[in-house]
């Protein structure tokens, strides 16, 4: 795998991780709003 492809892969993983974190946070907030 060349270095650009490696960098691209690493970044995609990082961004996917960020997205999943935001998505879970969004869902937790939605649950708390519903339980109010």
């Amino acid at each position: 795998m060349n270095s650009l492809a490696f960098l691209a892969t690493v970044n995609v993983v990082v961004w996917a991780g960020l997205f999943l974190y935001l998505w879970r946070l969004d869902r937790r907030i939605t649950e708390r709003e519903r339980n109010r």
């Binding site: 650009l4 492809a5 960098l7 691209a8 970044n11 995609v12 961004w15 996917a16 960020l18 997205f19 999943l20 935001l22 998505w23 946070l25 969004d26 907030i29 708390r32 709003e33 519903r34 109010r36």
Partner: protein, 229 residues
């Protein structure tokens, strides 16, 4: 809205992959360093956008004294600072490659650092005031004042002096000096970063409402009013 948020994952994954794999590196840059433009400029753009949003909500607070407007302004400044730091870090990485050191006291680097200090002072100012209403009022006034200075620091100062920084998107020729693949990926990145900022701002606002004990948003886009205001 939920569908748009879900779409952000494949969108950003495609953007990031394309940033590294699709457009050829620009001429006049060392190696692949020009690719940083796909991350560095959107960070700077998002920081500027966040500070404009903060100013708008600060004006709204001063006009109507709605504490939710102050909360959004505060969140926007925090997010703006985050993206400003990211812009400075990515810019410094580029500077190390192109100019030999992370920091060069270049006018654009220095003016953006000054912008970061200007808005960091907003947080220190708020932290120094105990009374919530006074904190919100003075914070809002400061955010408006800072937003008046911001265009000077971001757009004027770097252009009136000699700078190492590559020519920007807004340039004297009035043309976007990028080939088509670069343009597509660049504007896709701008849109993606903006979407992430708006999502983060929405999360912060909802957390603030939960903390204050306010009801969940009705979805009509209006901030709830405090009773009696």
């Amino acid at each position: 809205m939920k569908a748009l948020k879900l779409l952000l994952l494949p969108y950003m994954a495609a953007f990031v992959a394309a940033a590294f794999l699709w457009p050829a590196p620009a001429e006049g840059f060392i190696g692949e360093s020009s690719r940083i433009v796909f991350f560095h400029v959107p960070c700077a753009w998002t920081a500027t956008l966040a500070f404009v949003v903060a100013a708008a909500y600060s004006v709204a607070y001063l006009a109507r004294r709605n504490p939710r407007a102050d909360a959004v302004a505060h969140a926007a400044v925090r997010l703006g600072l985050l993206f400003a730091v990211l812009a400075l870090v990515t810019g410094s990485v580029f500077a190390r490659i192109m100019w030999g050191s992370f920091w060069n006291w270049d006018p654009r680097q220095s003016s953006f650092l000054l912008l970061l200090f200007l808005y960091a002072a907003y947080l220190f100012l708020r932290a120094a005031i105990d009374d919530p209403e006074r904190r919100a009022r003075i914070g809002a006034a400061y955010a408006v004042f800072a937003a008046i200075l911001m265009p000077f620091l971001v757009f004027v100062v770097p252009r009136v002096t000699e700078s190492l920084h590559p020519q920007t998107i807004i340039n004297p020729e009035g043309k976007i000096l990028m080939d088509s693949p670069t343009k597509v990926v660049f504007f896709a990145g701008l849109a993606g970063f903006t979407a992430i900022f708006l999502w983060l701002l929405e999360l912060e606002s909802r957390l603030e409402r939960l903390a204050a004990g306010a009801p969940a948003p009705s979805g009509n886009g209006n901030l709830p009013r405090r009773p009696g205001v």
